[in-house]
Subunit: 216 residues, 2 copies
């Protein structure tokens, strides 16, 4: 009929966001209907339009907040002034931790870009490029300092990001490997990939080798 007892705008909006991320991750943005989302929240579809003007705007909001969160997480965890190897290690750790904790949101952000209108797509890509630029910068610094051995900075950055983000495709919490183990292995793969000299910089290498051949 109308307003229900105990209804709360903030709670409804938060529930809608969370449910939208999960539904979009599972079925895709196009396949998720506003009615389906509303049912998940326990509300009628029309109620959603109090919080999001359009379905596309809902998608955009989710993506923008995801990218903002990624950037903020990195700004809080970056070791300012550290050498490139430590910076790279921090970047890898932050990237993997953030994406594993937000598997579904990452899925949406990576898969549904094509459903954004040009303006909104541009804004998201701008945020993404800025984030990737930080990695390129670290790689370039390391290469110039002779710490890394890199053929092509831009290409290496893309390869690393694809590799790291790919974790969410196969990683499932509570399975064979813990988050710490996965992160550690990706860290050592990254260091080898960029040709970081073992024993210099990150303070991780000894630890890495103790884990060697876990299941080769």
């Amino acid at each position: 009929m109308a307003r229900t007892t105990g209804s709360d705008g903030e709670r409804t909006e938060a529930a809608a966001r969370k449910a939208a991320v999960d539904l979009m991750a599972r079925y895709g943005y196009e396949a998720m209907s506003m009615r389906q989302l509303a049912a998940e929240v326990g509300v009628q579809a029309a109620a959603l339009y109090r919080y999001f003007p359009t379905k596309e705007d809902l998608l955009f909001t989710l993506m923008r907040d995801h990218m903002r969160g990624l950037r903020e997480a990195w700004e809080h965890s970056r070791p300012a002034g550290a050498d490139p190897a430590r910076q790279l290690a921090a970047y890898v750790r932050n990237h993997i931790a953030f994406h594993i904790e937000r598997r579904h949101a990452t899925h949406v952000s990576n898969m549904e870009l094509r459903s954004l209108s040009p303006d909104k797509l541009t804004e998201i890509l701008r945020m993404r490029t800025a984030y990737e630029k930080e990695l390129r910068s670290i790689l370039r610094d390391g290469a110039e300092a002779g710490i890394f051995s890199i053929e092509d900075t831009g290409l290496t950055a893309m390869a690393l990001i694809q590799m790291m983000t790919g974790v969410i495709v196969w990683f499932r919490p509570g399975e064979r490997l813990s988050i710490a183990e996965v992160t550690q292995t990706y860290l050592s793969m990254t260091m080898r990939l960029v040709g970081a000299n073992i024993g210099i910089g990150t303070g991780e290498e000894r630890h890495v080798h103790e884990h060697a051949q876990l299941r080769a």
Copy 2:
């Protein structure tokens, strides 16, 4: 009204497949309508149902053929009996070449799995797993022979595949780097990542180092 002059079933089906791959890659499976596809082919939507019983079946056919092609390409290019380093090099080369040549089909195969019914999803995943298993096998052989230095075979295989397949996300033909340059760089990144000793095995290492610091 009815059959058009010059109409040819084989040509129409081939055109529909090609257009479907392009449209799905650009807009996504759900967002592509059968009418849109038909318009691209120059035909009415109903005509498509002569070749594909349902829209989902069209998607499945495209994915299955893509996976078959990948497997066949690998079986034709694998160096039987070669050492693990050469096998890995061949795997990387084949994987990158195949995916770059079929960027759109790869996009579809990777992004639209969730639109398949359980049975068809299982079949596609079975083919994919079999293909990935070949890489794991090469990595294991190399690790056991002491040629590679790998912490976790399964995890490394996934990381490599994500890294390599990721090429299609950013690579555009005719831009800064040629396919040969990209392949070469990925090859050397792969060898470093698996800890292959430079100077052993692939016969690529000298070449690699001549390319070093292309744009670091």
